[in-house]
């Protein structure tokens, strides 16, 4: 069912999601979103190479999708409750601004430009030192600028590694959840080769619990946790 259709270049996770939904010719709804979850995760895989710094943004949406999907898979496990603004609402809002941006582009390209006058510069009679431009003011202002110039571009590598791993875990837990009803936390850790991965698995599980309200049961302290696929 995963279509191999090539999408236009997408600018971000919401853009990708919108394109996927529109490709299926569906209106934006929770059902439509859960329908395209698999495609979304597929694109997530392709992202790793050149757009890894955007991964975190895509993961936020991916977790919401996985939650939606699991809720459609096992609706009886979810109480009927309003848990705030949904991803569908968010996407609908986003779409409104995308539509508006097309109109803005038309205005921009119309080349109707208003001009101000060019007032000939007026030279003051003598030099006046502004009250707030002493050496101490310059110094303070320069320190603030240097602090602000701290590079903002890429996420630290550690964060990227971390998000990639969380992403894999979300995927593998999601797959396990899809194929089985129950599993033990130990099973999830079976393939962990170091402590970091154990932590990551636990984080991923928490993420799922938080977002999907997947239930985790433990009989006694330190005993294995049973993860109920939700």
């Amino acid at each position: 069912m995963i279509s191999a259709v090539k999408l236009e270049k997408f600018e971000g996770p919401l853009d990708l999601l919108l394109q996927l939904v529109e490709l299926e010719k569906m209106n934006i709804s929770e059902i439509a979103l859960s329908e395209v979850t698999d495609q979304f995760l597929l694109y997530l895989n392709k992202l790793e190479g050149n757009r890894s710094e955007e991964l975190a943004d895509f993961l936020v949406i991916a977790t919401k999708l996985v939650y939606l999907k699991s809720r459609t898979l096992l609706p009886y496990l979810y109480p009927e409750e309003d848990d705030g603004p949904s991803l569908a609402d968010q996407l609908k809002l986003y779409k409104q601004y995308i539509e508006a941006s097309k109109k803005i582009l038309i205005l921009w390209e119309q080349n109707r430009i208003a001009y101000g006058r060019i007032e000939p510069p007026v030279k003051p009679d003598g030099f006046v030192l502004p009250g707030n431009a002493q050496t101490t003011d310059l110094h303070r202002s320069m320190l603030a600028l240097v602090a602000r110039l701290r590079p903002i571009s890429a996420l630290p590598t550690a964060t990227i590694d971390h998000t990639i791993s969380v992403k894999h875990k979300i995927e593998s837990i999601y797959n396990l959840v899809k194929s089985r009803r129950h599993l033990n936390f130990k099973d999830l850790l079976a393939s962990a080769y170091n402590r970091t991965e154990v932590i990551i698995s636990f984080l991923a599980l928490l993420e799922l619990v938080k977002d999907s309200k997947a239930s985790v049961h433990q009989k006694d302290a330190y005993s294995d946790m049973e993860v109920r696929a939700v």
């Binding site: 600018e11 919401l14 508006a100 205005l107 430009i113 001009y115 101000g116």
Partner: protein, 178 residues
């Protein structure tokens, strides 16, 4: 001379956007009086066939030429090239136009992506400006009067579907539980 007349004069000589505060300070009259005078000037100037237009960008005001007379104006000044907007730039500008002043987290929630670089980029092009609000911990972003001039729009409210899309408080509410 009347406040109206003096206001008209300083908007004319300023040749740049003036804030409400600055106008009140230079003319040394109460703000309410300035507000009324600006309204009067708006009705006086902003008619379809006027050669001079008053642009309002939130609390900034500038006297500019009618965008429909662009060609005539460019005989006397260097033509300003609008330049292309990339898709992320366009998308961000649209949101800031309709929802400004907007904080970075709000913008990011709406667009679903980190916006630090794109905001820096738009500020460099002079299309968006940052505003440090002392009552708010986070700076807010809004479009510049230069951007409005390039769009040929007198006021943000004249943008298509402005009222619907300017649902700023709804956006904040919609996502505060995020």
């Amino acid at each position: 001379m009347t406040t109206l007349s003096r206001l008209e004069t300083i908007l004319f000589v300023a040749s740049k956007p003036l804030s409400f505060k600055k106008i009140a300070k230079v003319l040394n009259v109460p703000s309410e009086e300035i507000g009324g005078a600006l309204e009067t000037l708006l009705t006086k100037y902003n008619t379809p066939e006027s050669g001079i237009i008053l642009v309002q960008n939130n609390d900034e005001w500038q006297m500019v030429s009618n965008p429909d007379n662009r060609e005539a104006a460019e005989n006397f000044l260097k033509a300003e090239v609008s330049g292309e907007l990339t898709r992320p730039q366009l998308e961000t500008l649209t949101v800031v136009s309709y929802c400004g002043p907007i904080t970075k987290p709000e913008l990011e929630t709406l667009r679903g992506v980190n916006c630090s670089l794109i905001l820096r980029n738009l500020m460099m092009r002079g299309l968006v400006k940052e505003h440090e609000d002392p009552t708010n911990l986070l700076p807010t972003y809004e479009v510049t009067t230069d951007y409005l001039r390039h769009l040929g729009v007198n006021n943000l409210r004249d943008l298509p579907d402005y009222d619907t899309l300017h649902a700023h408080q709804n956006i904040t509410q919609a996502f505060e539980q995020k």
